[in-house]
Structure formats: C-alpha cells, structure tokens
C-alpha cells in the first residue's frame, strides 16, 4: 500500500523517489497533504525501500515532481475517500524543509551516521586505472594491524575489515602502501573528447540548406570532464544472511541497484533488499552504487554482521564516474542582412549514462575488477524523446529557417562517463548561447534583441528572458573597464523548465562573477522557496564548473585531481550574489534542478566576451585560457565561405 493511515491519525506515504538534498521529501509531503486534505504534520513520506516499493526508477532528469509527484497525488487522492478536507492547501507555499532542523542540530541524518549493533568497518581499494596490472601485494602487515579482522583479495580488488572506523582507516592506508600497480599496461590513451570512432548520427534536421549564402560563421566550444565532487564520501552498509543480502545506500535508483547487485552476486532480485538512506548532496550517477557493491562484496566475508564501507576523498574524486568531456562545433550560414539561413550543430561526446539496471552486466566498478570480472557496460544515451544524453538541448529552441544537428559518439572514452546534472545540456547550451552572442555581435544586434526576435513562437521563453534582463537592468547597464554583462537562456531538454540568466563579471587577475540574475518558469511551483534554492544552487554550481573545474589525468592515465587541492571548487569568497525570480503559473509542474546550469555558464562566458572583447570557447574559463584568447585574432569565429 502506498498510503496507510496509522493509529495516531497520521498517514504514511511511500514513494520510489529519493531525497538527494534537493528537498524532495518536503515537496512530496506538500503534494500528499493537499491530495489527502491533511495538514503537513499529519503526513510522513517514508524513505524508499525495495521491500515496499513503488519502483519509480531513478531519481534523475528533473522528473520527480513532474512525474512521480503527480502519481503520488493520484494515489493520495484515491486514498482520500473517507478523509476530511479540513486542512488549507500547502502546494504552492514555501513550506520550510522538513529535514533541516535535525541536520542543523547535528542529529544523525546521513548514511555515514548509521550505526547498527555489531557494525563492522570496511575499506575497499580499487586499482588506480581501469586496466592497471598488479605488480606486488604483500598484505602481511595489514593482517597484523590493530583491529583488523579480515583482508580480502579477489582479482584486482582488495578489502579490509576492521572493528572500528579508526582501525579501518589505518588498515586501508597500510593496504594502499602494500599494493604496487603498473598503470601503463593496456592503457587506452590520453583523455580527449576528440577520439570519436563512431559514425556521425543525425539527431534532427529541419528545412533546406540554402544555396546563396553571404557568409558563414563557425566556432568550436568544449567542456572538460567534470567530477560530482560531493562533500560527503560515498558510503554503504551491507549484511548477508541465509542467502539474502540487505543493503543501505544513498543511490539514486534503489531498484536498478538491486537488479545489478543480484546480477553481480548471482542472486534472485527478491533475495536482495535495498533501502535508501540520505547521503550528502547528489548531482548524478556518483560513487553511491559502486560503494554498495563494495560493501556487499566485503560483508560476504562475515555473514550476519552489518558492514559499512566508506570511500575516501581520493575515491570520491578519482573513482566515481565523471560527467564527460564534450566538443560542439557550430556553423551558421547568414544572408546579407545577417539572418541565419542554416544552422549546423555537430557534437562529439561519449554516452552520458552508465547507470545500473540497464545492461547485461552490472554497472558496478568493483564487479569489473574481481578474478572473474564482468564487462563494464558502455555509457549510452536515452533517446532524445526521453530527454537524450549528449544531445540534450542540442536542437536549437530558436526560430531558425533550417538546421542540422548531428553527433559523433565517442565509444572508448579515456575516463568513466556517466550522468552529471543536466548531462549534455551544459555543453550544448554553453555553445549555442555563446554562438548566438557571436552572431549578434557580428551582425550588430543587441544579444537580448536577437534572442527576443528568434523566440516569437515561445512566449514563456521570452518572459523569462525579459524578466531576467529587467531585474539585471540590462537596458541601462553601466559600461565600465573590465566589467561585462552576458545573457544565457534555454528551455531545459526543450520540454522542461524555462530559465534565463544574466551575469555580471569583473576581469582582473582572475575572472570573477559578481552577480547573477535568474528567471525561471517551472509551471506550478509546489514549494517556491525549494525551486528558488534549486535554481540558485544550480547557478552557483555552474559558476564553479565554468570558472574552475576540470578533471586532470597524469601521464600514467590516473586521475590526479583526486583531492580538493587539485580539484578546487567555488568558495564563499568567490560566490556571486544571486537573484532568482520565478514566473508563477498554474501550468503543470516542471523539474527545477537542472534548468539553471546551461544558461548560467553561457551568461558568464558572454559576460567575459563583453568585458574583454575576446571569446573563450573552452571551459573552464581560467586565467590561462583568457590570456591565450587575447592573443588570438579577434575574428577567429568568422570566416567567409
């Protein structure tokens, strides 16, 4: 039963979606309370658990409120029959987050805080690269270390079980020192998005290529590999007993994980129970599923006891999947008046999803490293109709006479690719919105006007654009040395929320984003403050990606950006002031979590171009890149055919 009334008059509601730090449980409580006609304190939305269902797939793609929220409303409305419609509605009101008071009081709130009776502490060491060969493993000192109960080896996978967290940390350190690897063996090659070996695929085409072209503008934009970089290291608990496996996880998809765990350990799905427990903020397919395998693999050594595996910071930044590098080439054929006759978008990217639950073999890191290794599933992309992956937001939202969108699939990327917040939209919107600015500049049109003119068919897009521009004072913006303003705008996935961003930057020794103004239309905002928080957080995360972030790989193919020192993210002193305005409407709710990323990075890049008159087309926008761009000819983008 999804909805159950308790003896004390409260109602417990089950959902298959999970809290990732985005405020889902609060929004779902509001939806359920309204549909049940109850005050929010009488409704409790329970954490997801495969033992109870429902199976609602993965919590991803900004679809939770949009789809599962509506299913929840229907289920609650059906259960309401004998209920009393006494409580005032709460959907649409900024209900404070249900979970925050306990978190601010320091109460156990996260999976890392779980401590069942008899808990054992494990660490698992993965090879430094996918193909690294083990040269030496003398684990005798680890066996003798204080509190160590077991040392396990299975192929290239090593684990240690200890009686406490402290002992597990020390034993893991010893174990790390006891293993020597040859990373050169079987290396794939340098990390680059360019080694496309797949044939180009046509994504979308409209209109005809013109015969009389006045000139053609061309530009190529890139984004690097980006890490999830969650603040809390991945963690899972597992316990075996009577041929059954029980796992506690902060995975985004508990049913998908259950299916792959069953596959990896040769169990029926029914023999595996997967329970969700909150982790630190999650922005896509991070190490949560991998560490669940690690815990199950290691807990098998000591049946009947719960065992916790915690990843290290280096694992979190070095072993989890990354959002892949992408390159986007854009061309626009213009007529003599500067009108776009034909637009071409060619992107190169690996697949953006290698999530569990979708392939013939488990999508779990450790399962590829045992003595009988499973084949790592290739990263794939969902069809564009389901949101796509690399091609997300590649089809322009502007009214253009004709276009062609195509894609090269990088089939053997150098790093492990999977879903990171907004998938391909980040690179595609960055490229499209930068290129639009380049066209506007080349044809002497204000970038806001260019967008307005090409959005006559989309009133909601125009509205967010105009609202952001108005709040930023676009029309009367002051011109000052080293200060620039830029705009970015997109409808997420072409079918989700509309979002526009204006950035104000200051150029100096480094690029500083001073202020951001965002406007969004997500239809009915179940919790307007929750939506504002998601837009604001997305904009700040995108600013961090845009200014600072790129995964680094050393000569041996190891991820070297595996500490905060080597993978810096935006700090308090660098965070811009963010103004968020929502266009309130009763239209169906649309997800808010990913809409801001593309528009924000584009606005920042366009503001940089506005400030300095140079265009940086490769992310991140580091001082080195800015200096390099200043040395390039100013007309790099324009070539007359």
């Amino acid at each position: 039963m999804r909805v159950q009334t308790q003896d004390d008059g409260t109602v417990q509601v089950r959902t298959g979606k999970v809290e990732l730090g985005q405020g889902l449980l609060t929004a779902f409580t509001q939806i359920a309370a309204d549909a049940l006609g109850l005050p929010v304190d009488k409704v409790r939305v329970l954490p997801a658990d495969t033992a109870f269902g429902p199976d609602e797939g993965v919590t991803s793609g900004s679809l939770s409120v949009q789809e599962a929220g509506m299913a929840l409303r229907r289920a609650c409305a059906e259960a309401r029959e004998q209920g009393i419609a006494a409580a005032p509605p709460v959907v649409g009101s900024p209900l404070p987050r249900i979970d925050l008071p306990a978190k601010f009081a320091g109460r156990p709130s996260f999976i890392q805080d779980l401590e069942p009776v008899g808990l054992l502490h494990g660490r698992v060491l993965h090879p430094p690269t996918g193909t690294a060969r083990l040269l030496e493993a003398d684990t005798r000192a680890v066996q003798r270390a204080p509190g160590v109960l077991a040392v396990k080896r299975d192929g290239r996978l090593f684990g240690v079980v200890a009686d406490s967290h402290t002992h597990a940390e020390r034993a893991a350190e010893l174990l790390r020192g006891a293993l020597r690897w040859d990373c050169e063996a079987g290396r794939i090659g340098p990390a680059a998005a360019d080694d496309a070996s797949g044939a180009p695929q046509l994504i979308d085409e409209r209109g005809l290529r013109p015969t009389v072209v006045h000139r053609t503008l061309k530009a190529r934009y890139t984004k690097p590999w980006i890490a999830h970089a969650s603040i809390g290291p991945a963690c899972a608990l597992a316990r075996w007993g009577a041929g059954r496996l029980h796992v506690w996880t902060h995975s985004q998809g508990i049913f998908n994980l259950r299916r792959d765990l069953a596959l990896a350990f040769g169990l029926a799905s029914e023999a595996v129970r997967v329970q969700h427990v909150e982790g630190a903020g999650c922005y896509g397919h991070n190490g949560a599923d991998d560490v669940a395998f690690d815990a199950a693999w290691l807990a098998r050594e000591i049946p009947g006891r719960p065992l916790r595996v915690l990843w290290s910071r280096a694992d979190e930044l070095g072993q989890a999947p990354f959002g892949p590098a992408m390159a986007v080439e854009l061309e626009a054929d213009l007529d003599a008046q500067g009108q776009v006759l034909h637009w071409r978008h060619r992107l190169r990217s690996p697949g953006h999803s290698s999530r569990p639950g979708r392939s013939a073999t488990p999508a779990l890191l450790g399962s590829w490293q045992t003595a009988q290794p499973c084949e790592p599933p290739a990263a794939i992309d969902m069809p564009l109709a389901s949101g796509g992956g690399a091609e997300r937001n590649a089809v322009p939202g502007y009214a253009l006479a004709a276009w062609q969108v195509s894609r090269h699939h990088v089939v053997a990327p150098a790093l492990r690719s999977s879903a990171l917040r907004s998938l391909g939209a980040y690179a595609n919107v960055f490229a499209i919105e930068s290129f639009v600015d380049e066209i506007a500049r080349a044809t002497g049109v204000d970038p806001l006007d260019w967008r307005r003119r090409h959005l006559r068919h989309d009133a909601r897009a125009r509205s967010v654009l105009e609202l952001a521009a108005q709040r930023a004072g676009w029309a009367t913006r002051a011109r000052a040395e080293g200060i620039g303003h830029g705009i970015g705008c997109a409808r997420y996935k072409g079918s989700g929320a509309w979002c526009a961003a204006v950035a104000e930057v200051e150029t100096g020794a480094t690029l500083r984003v001073r202020r951001l103004w965002l406007a969004a239309d997500v239809g009915l905002a179940v919790n307007p403050d929750g939506v504002v928080a998601q837009i604001e957080g997305g904009a700040i995360q995108a600013t961090s990606w845009a200014l600072k972030e790129a995964v680094q790989v050393d000569d041996a193919g190891r991820v070297s950006s595996d500490s905060w020192a080597r993978y810096p993210i935006l700090r308090f002193s660098e965070v811009p002031a963010v103004d968020v305005a929502l266009l309130l409407s009763p239209a169906p709710s649309l997800g808010a979590g990913e809409a801001a990323l593309g528009p924000t990075v584009a606005a920042v890049a366009n503001a940089l171009a506005d400030a300095l008159g140079v265009r940086v087309r490769d992310l991140p926008l580091t001082p080195e890149r800015i200096v390099a761009a200043m040395d390039e000819p100013a007309t790099a983008a324009t070539g007359i055919d």
Partner: protein, 154 residues
Amino acid sequence: VIAAVEPIALGVNGSRHALQADPKTPLLDVLREMLRLKGTRLGCGEGECGACHVLVDGRSQASCTLTLEAVAGRQVTTVEGLDAGLREAFVAEQAAQCGYCSSGLLIAAAALLRERPAPTEAEVRAALDPHLCRCGAHPRVVRAVLRAARGGAR
C-alpha cells in the same frame, strides 16, 4: 599488543571525559565513534573541506587532522553544543540543501560571532571560506549568519 595508555582528559560540550584511547586517534573519530556525536561530519580527512570543524577553546578547527593528544585538556564544542540562536537563523534562511556541510558552517559562524558580534558580509564570507558547499547554498548561509548576528546569537 597495545600498551595500556593513560586516559586523556577532554571537555566536550561542557562535559568532562577521560578517554582511554590511542593518543594519535583523530579528534573526529573520538567525537563520532567514541562519544557517538554524529553531528560532526567526515568530508575529506585531509583538513581541506571544513565539514568536520569544531571549536577548540573557541577556535574553529578541522577535527580530522587534530589528534586526541593535541587537544588533551582542551574544551571542544561540536555542533550539538551550539546555542539555538544560530541554528534558528539557519532554519529561518533555509540555509542548506543537503546539509552535509552545515555543521562545519555553524561552527565557523559561532567562532566568528564570538570574535565579531556584528560582522560585515565580507567578514562572514572570509570566515566561511575554508568551508566547501557543493549544493550552492552559500548566499543563504551568509544571510543566516548575518541574521544570527542581528539577533545577538553567539
């Protein structure tokens, strides 16, 4: 064989403890594992992210790189031991998304407000700068600390 060690005295949130433990045990482990105070979070174990900050004699410090012996005889305050005023300001501003970094931020804010009861926004940002937040709740956190200052929180 582990040699018997002298108990180490430590004050935590106003209580006195005599801890029988390896003097090299990280303070973070003492708090989370021995004293079961789970509010102090492990983020990196390298003193780089700020998630595990506690007050040591009133100063905000990373507890993952401090050993028990280094804080012997000192007074430690964890997030569980902070006054309600600061916490209420964080709730009022809804100053978190996932909340994993919040404990460290609350500690940094408490240390700042003890030193400077009426900080400027720039001073708040500077005090919070050692702390990483991945969700992008920064503006709300800064507002929460300024609100707490106006309300007289320590």
